[in-house]
Amino acid sequence: MNHRGGWALVRSTWLSWMQHRSFFFVLAFGWMIPPLVYLLVWSTAAGSQAINGFTRGEFVAYYLVLILVNQLTYAQTNWTVGDVIREGKISQMLLYPMSPLYNTLSSEFAGKVVYMTFAVPVTAVLAVLLHPELHTTPGHVLAFIPALIFAWALRFFWGYWLALLAFWATRADALLAVQDTLVFLLAGQVAPTLLLPGALRGLANVLPFRYMVGFPVEVLTGQLNGSALWVGFAAQVGWLMIAVLLYKWMWRTGLRRYSAIGG
């Protein structure tokens, strides 16, 4: 593994991305709107009385954290992986003396820094305007860090193996759009998982999507304690292992099929 070359790639990608800030700010703005809509709708609904234990300020806190977690874990490079395969540009990456995973990771890190320079100030302003109530303890903050890292890794590898389907179907972006919608519905964006009706909540707990966004948010806002926390972590790590295995297997078998379309 050529880690030094990988790091150089990360740096160069980051520098070039900072030049095109406005484009990425527009992207970050677009991702922020759906959770913001639900933030406003739920906090209006909870204006006079708490809904199922959630007060207005708690809804605000939940969704503001969710906006940040969503941007931090969003694996947008997976869209480009499909394109790179479809257009045959991956041939060039395969010739580098390091894994193509580095190309993806470099845009991933570059992107996160650029998005945060937009999302953090905007969220801060929203927090000043909307008065969130965050009940968190040092223990919750401590648990939040691994939950966030696992969530990022899970979303990244899950999206990556889906994008690798492009080796077979040449165009996998519709599948990624389906995946985004499922994340939207089941990962705590439409409503905190605790508020979902019975059957949907069961589905959210079993499928991987909640562990990509909603779970770390629930950890930080102190909704989960004791065994619920441990069960959540177990499910998160379990799905992460499945995603990594799928990625490895898809990469090996896909590469054998690859025949450089276009070029």
Binding site: V26, I33, A172, A174, L175, A177, T181, L185, P197
Partner: protein
């Protein structure tokens, strides 16, 4: 007119051939449409399982807003969105300088830019949107009279024109600043039209009504279904649609004169 209709027919055929080339993607797009519709509906169900009504909007009337949102969104995805996006999106014609070839064609440039690319799958979205609207009207029941329906259709039509005009204006801005994806900014804001503007806090509500008239596009038609819309509002919205359409066309044409090609 006949010439233009014939051209639209040709655009549709060419677009269909492009889309059918990726068959698996085509099928999954159908699934995506269904999920998108399901998410909108489930969002409402989850919300109204917890509360009876928010600021006077109950399940049935909010469902009507969602129906209008899905319907006008489907019309956008059918041709306005893909066509304008091919002009100003990433690697679009302005960016890549391909507009040079378009300018030489014997056709009105605004017509070409608004109709040339079709995403036929959106017909499915259109059916789902109409279904939601029908369900909302059924839920509202006796509250909907014939005059309500007529006002609704007029407001839906003028809302649609307003929607087109705003998108054209945002697209036209690209000529001044080609690096900025103005239409994406608008698409983001438009997502707020999913819910009645009354659910948003004061300042934002005013902005969504008067600055970016998202409220006029979805909330107002839905309002017509449940209660009487004052005649002044009705005339006002028609006037707004006409004014915005003229203004946006002017902006687009003025911007077009600034286009100076792009070298690669």
């Amino acid at each position: 007119m006949r010439y233009h209709l014939k051209l639209i027919g040709l655009f549709i055929r060419a677009s269909a051939q492009q889309e059918l080339a990726y068959r698996a993607n085509f099928l999954i797009s159908l699934l995506h449409s269904l999920l998108n519709f399901g998410t909108g509906l489930l969002g409402l169900l989850v919300l109204f399982e917890q509360v009876e009504a928010i600021r006077g909007w109950d399940f049935a009337s909010t469902l009507a807003v969602l129906g209008v949102y899905l319907t006008v969104g489907a019309v956008r995805d059918l041709f306005i969105g893909p066509s304008l996006d091919a002009l100003t999106g990433i690697n679009g014609d302005i960016w890549a300088g391909r507009l040079d070839f378009t300018l030489m064609r014997p056709v009105d440039i605004q017509f070409w830019s608004s109709f040339r690319q079709w995403r036929l799958l959106a017909v499915f979205d259109l059916a789902l949107g109409a279904g939601v609207l029908a369900k909302a009207i059924f839920e509202l029941g006796a509250a909907v009279t014939a005059s309500h329906l007529i006002t609704f259709l007029i407001l839906l039509g003028s809302g649609m024109i307003t929607f087109y005009a705003v998108q054209l204006a945002f697209t036209g801005l690209m000529f001044w600043n080609p690096g900025m994806l103005f239409s994406w900014v608008f698409n983001g804001i438009f997502q707020m039209a999913r819910y009645p503007v009354r659910l948003y806090p004061g300042g934002l509500r005013l902005a969504l009504t008067w600055i970016v008239p998202v409220g006029v596009i979805t909330t107002l038609p839905a309002q017509a279904l449940t209660g009487d819309v004052p005649a002044l509002t009705l005339v006002g919205s028609l006037f707004l649609a006409a004014a915005l359409f003229t203004g946006a066309s002017l902006l687009f044409r003025t911007g077009l004169r600034r286009y100076a090609s792009a070298s690669s």
